[in-house]
Amino acid sequence: MGKTVLMQGNEAVVEGAIAAGMRFYAGYPITPSTEIAEQSAVRLPQVGGKFIQMEDEISSMAATIGASAAGVKAMTASSGPGFSLKQENLGYACITEIPCVVVDVQRSGPSTGLPTSPSQADVMQAKWGTHGDHPVIALSPSSVRETYDLIIRAFNLSEKYRTPVIFLMDEIVGHLREGIEIPDPKDLEIINRPVKKFAKQNGLPYHVEEGEWVPTMLPFGQGQRYHITGLAHGESGFPTNDNATAGKLVRRLIDKVEKNYDDIVQCEEVMCDDADVVVVCFGGTARAAQSAIEQAREKGIKAGMFRPITVWPFPGRELEKLSKKVKKIVVAEHNDGQILLEVQRVVKNNCKVDFVGKIDGSVLTPPVILSKIEEE
């Protein structure tokens, strides 16, 4: 551990990403994510990387995918309006299995909404924003330090499972400054994509070895030509209309995430061991919830907090277990009830589920959450 430094959440995204090996950033600045572009522009040239400001968010996403296909760990960042524009190419990264990290620092919508105000209303967009059945991994940090650690994990998961990972931040954490200790690079676990010599795969770029979930990857432009397409494809990488081949591909794309639940899914339980009431929240909202449950405990109410760190896949197994032990769950989020739907799906009738949300761009405060905890 080094010296404690004052750092903004958005800066921690860039520092963590560089520690994870990010060497390419393409983006189009937008509040409240702009500092990610600014910091990447300063830092990437210092470590031999490339920064490019593209003409819009669509091309930013395309450039990010292109850089990654060429063998470089790549990232782009935006907020809601830009995240909407990235959806088409996000699906392309899913089906072509090109690793990349897409940061969405959520702000109030819809459309350009309230540019400088917090929100968490892109939860369902992160899962279903791009069309078709596809895998989704989305991580959400609740402090500056966790942002640093989690963006590294975002790159690791992206590389390991050859899939885009969405880093679902909010203005609260993105614009928050805290003192953090930067970990020693030697202590970090960094995962790189599985790379193999082409010849070993019989010239088939999308051939998956027995016992593996993803094909090994050959950096584009390094000697051997192969086909990358958004159309359904078999091992050769060329388009096909064959139903069996297409079905096998989509099944594997979904399963490589769903069947590795235990490796991917993370959640945090705070003071849940004896809790009667549990607040379920993610990202920046967890800071208000933390204060609210402490205040509830001071009043003699046994309150705890359950926080999905991976928003997708949703940590349903852990929450289901917890819901059988508690009397009430309060879902708190800066939207009109999105994680709420997942909670209701998982909890069913195990306990009462209450909701407190925000849609006006202001911040959920501890007293508001506390009064929901206290409600009979």
Partner: protein, 206 residues
Amino acid sequence: MSASKKTEVKEVKKTATKAPAKTTATKAERTKMEIRLTGSGGQGVILATIILAEAGVEAGKFVAQSQAYGPEARGGSCKAEVIIDEKPIGFTKVEKPTFFMALTQKALDQYAPGLSKHCIVLLDSSLETPECLLANKVYKAPILESAIKEVGKAMTANIVAVGAINAILNLVSDEDLHTAVMSHVPKGTEELNEKALKVGMKLIKK
């Protein structure tokens, strides 16, 4: 590393139930500083809170700095906050300011209703103090005027303010504050900002 089909044993990050730290109200007030600085966009109140946060980190404390502003680059009300505490900080926004500063009448009128009788208030001398202002103590100091007349540059008002705030609150040592200011001002303006900091400190009579 490949995505092997073997799955690993998974751990849920758990924090056990702890009895909340028993602090009396007065002690809690003393350790946790909730600072809210307000003014007009472009006056540098956000940078002022960043500098205070940096000084807090230098002094080994927990800090959380944040801001609220509109989409306009200049003008418009701006609110910037920093919490400085001995303990880890939960909610990152200021709920009940223990210290409040306003540099413009508009910001004062907008944010004054959120104040309580526990709050220390610093107002620029050019402002009219509202009759109903709730505060423990109100300081008035010519922050904007001193920046222009004594330092020689209006844009140093935020650094003048930082000097005055630390003179009132004794948040950190003068040395930590100086380090924090120097690490956040543009190259070539060090001398000017050093002067602004000293002017600010002297504005408050001990």
